[in-house]
């Protein structure tokens, strides 16, 4: 590790120590107010997810917290270092994987990792060893000698994250790490993120997918138009969203009418479909099926719609998600 001129905080106290602390963060671009007073507190060793649609200001938050751009106002401490007075201290503690691939396209995968090792001043032998290890771990060993511009989207993202891990940052920012990835690569990325946190790293993750925040995060904050509109555990958030429903389609008008008598919901006579609120849990689903059973009706098709980001936004802000 590179020596620093400040004393490192003890890494033992996990329950109380705060990895990221943000108060009153503001930022405008010209006349456009992007962040209008954000407060965030992320305990060490947890995954914090900033959830929001495109244009909500998520990337601006990451850019400010990772010292890339400055804030107009606000107090930010990362790993105990003040963002304004000690940006080098912040930089020494963090790793960033942005939304847009931060790999050098003209260098090979292995050379990209060597570059990071050199910039973290790890020494040649250690850098080589680490690069080999990361290439194996991120399933890039076969492509290690190819230039990164020939990599697929998923490979670039994996290389990107592998580069972030060189030098073992204690706090990692992941700005929409799975946007544009296929489902399999996305699951692979989730696995990697879970492993990192198991190793004691703090993760600050932005995403536009509620499912992703649900899968990974200890706490979620919902960002909309530069303010935090809700914060809590994924379960707490979802309880506040009444967007879930069960959708039933019937084979004929007879069944449709019978179901209309048995259930309370919105009926669409032309399409022979009914929408019944609830359905986020087994009990409400069983209740609907029991009622249909006693009415002697069998639906031709049944789909359960779980709350997604659109519902979150509708419920929390009273307006449609801006894509």
């Amino acid at each position: 590790m590179k020596p620093t001129n400040r004393t490192l905080p003890p890494m033992t106290s996990t329950a109380t120590s705060t990895a990221i602390s943000v108060t009153g963060l503001r930022r405008s671009y010209g006349d456009t107010l992007v962040l209008d007073g954000i407060d965030l507190h992320v305990p060490t060793g947890t995954i914090f997810s900033l959830l929001g649609p495109n244009g909500a200001g998520k990337t601006t938050v990451v850019k400010i917290l990772s010292t890339l751009i400055s804030a107009d106002a606000g107090d930010v401490r990362i790993d105990g270092c003040d963002l304004v007075t000690d940006p080098e201290g912040v930089r020494a503690a963090i790793g960033v994987t942005g939304q847009f691939s931060a790999v050098d396209g003209l260098l090979t995968g292995r050379e990209n990792l060597h570059l990071m090792a050199d910039l973290r001043h790890l020494g040649k032998a250690e850098g080589r060893r680490l690069a080999g290890e990361l290439l194996e771990r991120f399933d890039l060993a076969d492509a290690a000698g190819k230039v990164a511009s020939t990599y697929s989207g998923g490979m670039r993202r994996r290389l990107d994250l592998a580069m972030t891990l060189v030098g073992e940052p204690r706090i990692i920012f992941l700005d929409e790490p799975t946007t544009g990835l296929d489902p399999r690569s996305r699951r692979g990325m989730w696995e990697i993120i879970r492993e990192l946190v198991a190793g004691g790293v703090t993760i600050f993750l932005t995403t536009q997918y509620l499912e992703e925040a649900d899968q990974l995060a200890d706490r979620v904050a919902v960002l909309d138009h530069g303010i935090i509109v809700a914060e809590g555990t994924p379960a707490e958030l979802k309880r506040r969203i009444p967007g879930g429903h069960i959708r039933l389609r019937f084979a004929d008008g007879h069944a449709f009418t019978a179901a209309g008598r048995a259930l309370a919901g919105t009926a669409d006579g032309d399409a022979l479909t009914m929408t019944v609120p609830g359905g986020g849990d087994v009990r409400s689903l069983r209740d609907v099926l029991d009622r249909l059973d006693s009415a002697g009706v069998e639906p031709a098709e049944l789909t359960v719609h779980t709350p997604d980001l659109d519902d979150v936004f509708l419920a929390l802000t009273g307006k449609e998600k801006v894509a």
Partner: protein
């Protein structure tokens, strides 16, 4: 400031040199441009311009013109390579990797210094190739070993100055296209100096500009060093111009790098 400024600069220079090797068409383009001008000026215009030199008392003919124009062409080679720097820097600044560098605890100037050093190496390579072509078509400078060393030093100094200037222009440019256009004036300046014809033959206003612009003392110095004639005051002027341009451009580039990157 990081205590690893030198190590980081070395790392970034290795990166820059790798880019140059991986993207050879850029270097070929930068070398090709001055070679075409050399051949054009010697074989198409050289006879007539050489005769003009004869009237100015510098001895007339194509060979004399080759000797006269080579230092100017070498400056074009350096300016052409510097234009490449501007494009490379502007392109690099749009890449995610530079955003990554900014979030890492590395010496702030190292990213730009890596570009500058890599580009100086590229410029020197261009100069060597152009010089080889000039020698192949009959350029026979009278310079001794010291003269050659001085000429090489002068070229390296100009390359450093123009490269840093173009690092700044590349940083300042809002797009890669702009970055490729703004340094164009550098390749034109040798024409508006003593690069291709003696300034005495120019109209007064133009001659005034030509005599005082930085390329003229540099070209005069280079010409004297290669011909083995006394350098005079132009040497001091040339070195002074180069140092001032380097220093100002370096500070300017660093300031541009440290400001918030554009959206």
């Amino acid at each position: 400031m990081s205590t690893y400024a030198l190590a980081d600069t070395a790392t970034m220079t290795r990166r820059s040199l790798r880019h140059i090797v991986r993207y050879p068409s850029m270097t070929l383009l930068l070398i090709g441009f001055p070679i075409i001008f050399l051949l054009l000026f010697v074989y198409v215009f050289g006879g007539t311009l050489g005769a003009g030199l004869g009237r100015a008392g510098l001895g007339g003919g194509r060979d004399q013109y080759l000797a006269y124009v080579t230092p100017g062409i070498l400056m074009m080679a350096v300016a052409s390579a510097a234009q490449g720097t501007s494009i490379t820097v502007a392109t690099d600044m749009t890449e995610g990797i530079v955003a990554r560098f900014r979030t890492m605890s590395i010496s702030r100037g190292s990213v730009l210094a890596g570009h500058a050093i890599g580009s100086v190496a590229q410029a020197l390579l261009c100069v060597v190739v152009v010089l080889a072509v000039a020698l192949a078509i009959g350029f026979r400078p009278a310079a001794g070993p010291l003269g050659w060393l001085g000429a090489l030093g002068m070229i390296a100094l100009v390359a450093l100055a123009l490269t840093w200037l173009c690092v700044g222009l590349g940083m300042k440019a809002k797009s890669v296209e702009t970055a490729s256009n703004t340094p164009m004036f550098l390749t034109l300046l040798p024409f508006l100096g003593s690069g291709f014809v003696p300034t005495d033959s120019m109209p007064t206003v133009l001659r005034w500009f030509a005599d005082y612009q930085p390329f003229t003392p540099v070209i005069e110095t280079l010409r004297a060093l290669l011909a083995g004639t006394p350098v005079g005051t132009s040497g001091l002027l040339a070195v002074g111009w180069c140092l001032v341009i380097t220093l100002v451009s370096y500070l300017w580039s660093l300031k541009l790098y440290n400001r918030d990157p554009a959206q």
